[in-house]
Amino acid sequence: MQADQIFQFKNVSLNVGELSILNELNFSVNKGEFLAVLGASGAGKSSLLRMFNALSSPSSGQIHFRNKPIDIDIQCLRKNVGILFQNPAVFSGSIKENLMIAGRWNHNIAQILDHELISALEQVGLKDIKLKQNAKDLSGGEQQRLALACALLNKPQVLLLDEPTSNLDPKLSRSIMNLVNKLRKNLDLTIIAVSHDHVLMRKYANRVILLSQGQLVGDGTFKALDAKQAFKKAGLLEHEDHDAT
C-alpha cells in the first residue's frame, strides 16, 4: 500500500434490490490527484461518488480512507471529504447563515468572524456579495459557489464534485472548473469529479476512471484511454466533436 494513497476501493459492489449498480470495483485515489469519474448516464458514477464520503455504503467490498476503514468515524470523514452536489441545497436565510450552518456542530466554524467569511466568499469568486443578502436570491452559478465556500470552511482534504457543471452554460462551467483547479493547487486538495462531459474534464483531470454499466472499464490518463478507444466503448463518443474547442 503506497503512502500517498488517500482512498482504496477493494472489490466494491453496490446492489439495489436485485439491480447491480456497481460491480467489483478495485482502484485507489492518490493524494493531490484530479480524478474524473466518467461514464454515460446510468453508469453508476453518482452512486460511486456518494461512497467517498459514506453517504452510501457498498453492498460488499471494502473502502479505506487514509489506510483505515472509511466508516470508523463518519462525521470526521465527512469534514475531511467535502462534496459539491449537482444542485446544491441553499438554506433559508442570509449568506452568512448559510456559511455558518456547520457552526451548529463545528466549534471552529461557529467562531469564524465576518471578515473571514468575506475572504471565504472571495476565494470562490463571490466578491460583490453581502453577508446579509438572502441566499435564495443568488443565481444558479452563485449558489454553486456558495455551496463550495460552505464545503471549504470545513478545510477538507478531498473535494467531491457531482456533475458540477451540468446546469451551467459552457462559459460558467469553465469558470467553475478553473476555480476548482485553482483551489486544488492553492489548498492542496484532492479532487474527485463525476461527469458525463469528458471533453470538459480532460482539460483539468490528470486521471480518469471510466464506468460502463457499473463496471470499471478504464483507469488511467486521457491519453492512455484514448489509445485504447475506451471512451468509444463506454458510449461517450458523442462529445468528440467538441474536442477541438
Binding site: 464520503n53 459514506a54 453517504l55 452510501s56 455504503s57 466508516d71 463518519i74 462525521q75 470526521c76 465527512r78 469534514k79 467535502g82 462534496i83 452536489f85 444542485n87 446544491p88 441545497a89 438554506f91 450552518i101 456547520a102 451548529r104 456542530w105 463545528n106 455551496a147 460552505c150 464545503a151 470545513n154
Partner: protein, 266 residues
C-alpha cells in the same frame, strides 16, 4: 344561587333528532348524496356512546389499581394502533414510537394531576383517571399523528438539505433538526391558538358539559384551565418523545439517510 342540573331524558334525546332531520332536508335539497352516510353516522353515534355509557358505569364501579393500569395500558395500545393506521406512509417501528410517547405522557401528566393537583384518593379512582387519562391519550394521539405526517413531508421536502448537512459533518439529529422543529411547531399551533382564544370565541366542551351538569362555573373554569395546560404539555411531550424515536428510523447506523423510505411506492 345554586346552578340547576338539567337532566336529559331519552325522550329529550329523541327530540334532538330534529337536528338530523333538518340536516337530511338540507342535504337532499343540495343533492349532496350524503343521506345514507349521515343516517349510519347518527345510528353509530347513538349505539357507540350508549354502550360506552354502560361500560363506563361498570368501569367506575371497579376500584383496583391493577384494573386501572390495565385499562390505561389497553387505551394506549389502541391509540398506538390507530395512530399507526392513520399514517399515509409506513414509518418503521411507528407503533412502538407511538406507544412509548403516549405511555410517557400518560405516566408523567396523569400521575402529576392525580397525585399532586387533584390529590385524588385513592389515586386510581376511575372517576378521575379514566376521563383525564382518555383526554391525555386522545390528545396525544391526534397531535403525534399530525406531527409524524408533517415530519415525513418535511423529510421529503428537505432531502437535499439533509444530505448536504450530513455531508458537512452533521449527526442525523442535527441534520433533521429543522424538520423536527417545523413539524412540532405546526402540530402545536392549534393548541396555542386554542389557549389564545379560549373563553373569548368559544366555550370548551369540558367546561360546557360541567356547567350543564350543574357544577359551579368558577370550578368548571378551573378544570378547563388545568385541561388546557395539560393538553399543551401532552402534545409537546408526546411529540418530542415520538420524534426522538422516529427520526432514527430514517438513518442507517452509518449516518446515512434511508432515501428509499422517502420514495412513494409505485
Amino acid at each position: 344561587m345554586r346552578p340547576e342540573f338539567y337532566i336529559l331524558s331519552w325522550n329529550d334525546l329523541l327530540v334532538s333528532l330534529v337536528f338530523i332531520a333538518f340536516s337530511v332536508f338540507l342535504i337532499k335539497k343540495w343533492k349532496l348524496g350524503l343521506e345514507q352516510t349521515l343516517l349510519i353516522g347518527t345510528l353509530r353515534t347513538f349505539v357507540q356512546l350508549t354502550a360506552m355509557g354502560y361500560v363506563l358505569t361498570w368501569f367506575f364501579d371497579q376500584q383496583h389499581w391493577a384494573f386501572m393500569l390495565s385499562l390505561l395500558f389497553i387505551m394506549i395500545v389502541i391509540a398506538s394502533y390507530e395512530g399507526t393506521r392513520r399514517q399515509k406512509k409506513d414509518i418503521p417501528h411507528f407503533f412502538s414510537a407511538m406507544f412509548v410517547s403516549l405511555l410517557g405522557a400518560a405516566i408523567l401528566i396523569l400521575g402529576t394531576i392525580l397525585l399532586f393537583i387533584l390529590d385524588v384518593k385513592p389515586w386510581y379512582s376511575p372517576y378521575a383517571a379514566i376521563p383525564i387519562g382518555g383526554m391525555i391519550i386522545g390528545n396525544g394521539l391526534n397531535s403525534t399523528s399530525l406531527t409524524a405526517n408533517r415530519f415525513l413531508g418535511e423529510l421529503k421536502h428537505r432531502e437535499k438539505e439533509i444530505e448536504t448537512l450530513l455531508a458537512l459533518g452533521a449527526s442525523p439529529k442535527q441534520a433533521v433538526y429543522d424538520a423536527m422543529k417545523e413539524s412540532i411547531h405546526a402540530a402545536l399551533i392549534p393548541n396555542i391558538n386554542a389557549m389564545m382564544t379560549v373563553g373569548l370565541v368559544q366555550l370548551p366542551g369540558v367546561m360546557t358539559g360541567q356547567i350543564l351538569a350543574g357544577i359551579d362555573p368558577i370550578i368548571a373554569v378551573r378544570y378547563q384551565i388545568m385541561i388546557m395546560y395539560m393538553w399543551f404539555t401532552t402534545a409537546t411531550m408526546a411529540n418530542m418523545i415520538m420524534l426522538a424515536i422516529v427520526y432514527r428510523q430514517f438513518f442507517t447506523d452509518k449516518l446515512q439517510l434511508k432515501r428509499e423510505l422517502l420514495r412513494d411506492k409505485a
